[in-house]
């Protein structure tokens, strides 16, 4: 990034002059991202909807990307800016790894992302915010970790589970009731799909599993073996199972009262 800012500053998101407009610009927005840890790793998942005002701009957008071998970013907010930010982030991690011959620490990666969000603050003030969720497997501490951000680049590590985007309130509440710290990989994947289902249930901007078009959430798993994205068959199995149960219990699994 340092090299880029010297050599081709116009390629960096933060260095562009802001358009002199008042009010929000209509651009596609991504919505809900959720993450949950389990012993041995972390899952990061996102719904597939992008909205522009009250219109669904895209039904099958992908909002979860591998950042490198051991981490992933899920993006909520202005899709165009967010995708560019992820691209630059991926580039930077890979560049560092090649030049130095070693990977950045997970903390280092999280801090780097924080700076990149902060550089977008001007745009965020005009309504073009980008708020990602960063999850990765910490090779040194041998566990999955989640970092969440706010628009100003503030970074906080989450324990257990986290969500970001317009449906995050509902998704987080759902995960709060479902989360257990002895999840298996598959249970964690099911929990995040449940959370996305609840988010789609109550937030108009979040898309639920689209069984008709076979568009399912993107679920990624990061363990000591690295990043892996569940195939659409694997996710469809989980999503169908969740859907099947919801036909009987529309509000999803009930938690014990006490």
């Amino acid at each position: 990034m340092d090299f880029l800012s010297e050599h081709s500053p116009e390629l960096l998101p933060g260095n562009r002059p802001l358009p002199p407009v008042q009010g929000a610009i209509e651009a596609p927005h991504g919505t809900t991202i959720v993450a949950a840890t389990f012993p041995g790793g972390v899952v990061l998942a996102g719904d597939r909807r992008a909205t522009m005002g009250n219109v669904i701009a895209q039904r099958d957008i992908e909002k979860v990307f591998p950042a490198d071998e051991y981490s992933a970013v899920g993006i909520a907010g202005t899709a165009g800016l967010a995708v560019e930010m992820v691209k630059l982030f991926q580039l930077e991690l890979e560049h560092f790894e090649k030049v130095e011959g070693a990977q950045l620490s997970l903390e280092g990666k999280a801090n780097r992302l924080s700076t990149m969000i902060r550089s977008n603050l001007g745009m965020a003030m005009q309504g073009l915010a980008v708020v990602p969720l960063f999850a990765g497997f910490d090779v040194d501490r041998e566990k999955g970790r989640i970092f969440s951000y706010d628009v100003t680049g503030g970074r906080s590590e989450e324990t257990g589970y986290a969500a970001t985007g317009s449906g995050s309130v509902f998704a987080r509440s759902a995960l709060k009731k479902l989360f257990r710290d002895d999840f298996s990989e598959n249970e964690a994947a099911t929990a995040v799909v449940q959370a996305l289902y609840d988010a789609a249930d109550d937030d108009s901007a979040t898309g639920g599993p689209d069984l008709g078009r076979r568009i399912y959430p993107i679920v990624t798993v990061i363990t000591d073996e690295g990043f892996k994205r569940l195939t659409s068959d694997e996710v469809s199995e989980i999503a169908r199972a969740v859907h099947e149960r919801r036909l009987e219990q529309p509000d999803g699994p009930r938690a014990a009262l006490l």
Binding site: H7, S8, L91, H95, K98, G101, A102, Q103, G226
Partner: protein, 267 residues
């Protein structure tokens, strides 16, 4: 004040070339060979941290002999060139040809500039394609020329002898095990026809493997796996083993000293 005496341009260039060649010839050699699934690099290099072979981009790798600080400079330049290209346009648009061209320009400019000493380096830039026919290997000598190589190539130390040996024995479609064996045989041949024994610990091996599922096709072969491959009598088992054992390279190369040249690697 002494008057500078006249040196003909031919003589000046010849002197510079001689100087660079001598520097390169002092170091140990690196060979690159095409095999069935890509390109394998084998370097004699006792150091685990200071690499002679490294990744540039998805399908492109770099190998060098000569002075460490000089080729390390060029390597970082290459990584920057490739990453910037890939970010500005697309990952597809980063090619070995473009990179080799840039290297040639740099080396050529340094070689003919009277103010600088010529770089004592010789580079290899290779790219794997979808099939063996699409593989490209470029050799870049110290003066900035480019040589398009096929099948096998050697640089450094007694490169002439080694490449003659390789040319005689290399054939298309070798398995990884076979190619490695040939490379080690060629490297262990001495100036005066004798043979030395090279242990896996003295070798740095990396492959560009087109069968690798990841986007980045470059992979280092650790010495434990190398011993297995060399012992496997060139059977095709070796090739599958290489594909399955995925290890990120961070483990071995974490402690880079950077300032020092590895002993024995150039002297």
């Amino acid at each position: 004040m002494s008057t500078p005496f006249y040196v003909s341009p031919q003589q000046a260039m010849a002197d510079r070339a001689e100087y660079a060649r001598k520097g390169i010839a002092r170091g140990r050699s690196v060979v690159a060979l095409q095999y069935a699934d890509g390109v394998v690099f084998v370097a004699e290099n006792p150091s685990r941290a200071l690499h002679k072979v490294s990744e540039i981009y998805d399908r492109i790798a770099f190998a060098a002999v000569g002075k460490y600080n000089e080729f390390e400079n060029l390597r970082i330049g290459g990584v920057r060139y490739a990453d910037l290209r890939g970010y500005t346009y697309d990952r597809e648009d980063v090619t070995a040809r473009g990179l080799a061209n840039t290297y040639a320009q740099t080396l050529g400019a340094i070689f003919s500039s009277a103010a600088e000493k010529p770089y004592e380096v010789e580079l290899l830039v290779a790219e794997v394609g979808a099939t063996a026919e699409d593989d490209q290997i470029y050799r870049l000598p110290h003066d900035g020329s480019i040589v398009d190589e096929h099948g096998s190539v050697a640089v450094g130390g007694n490169a002439d002898q080694i490449s003659t040996y390789l040319d005689q024995h290399h054939r298309d479609g070798m398995s990884l095990g076979e190619a490695l064996k040939l490379a080690v045989e060629s490297l262990s041949r001495d100036n005066n026809g004798g043979e030395r024994t090279l242990t896996p610990e003295q070798l740095e091996v990396a492959v560009l493997d087109r069968k690798r599922p990841q986007q980045r096709k470059f992979k280092r072969v650790p010495s434990s796996q190398l011993s297995r491959l060399l012992a496997s009598e060139g059977s095709s088992v070796g090739a599958t083993e290489a594909g399955s054992a995925e290890e990120p390279e961070s483990g071995t190369s974490g402690a880079e000293t950077g300032s020092e040249r590895s002993e024995g690697s150039e002297e």
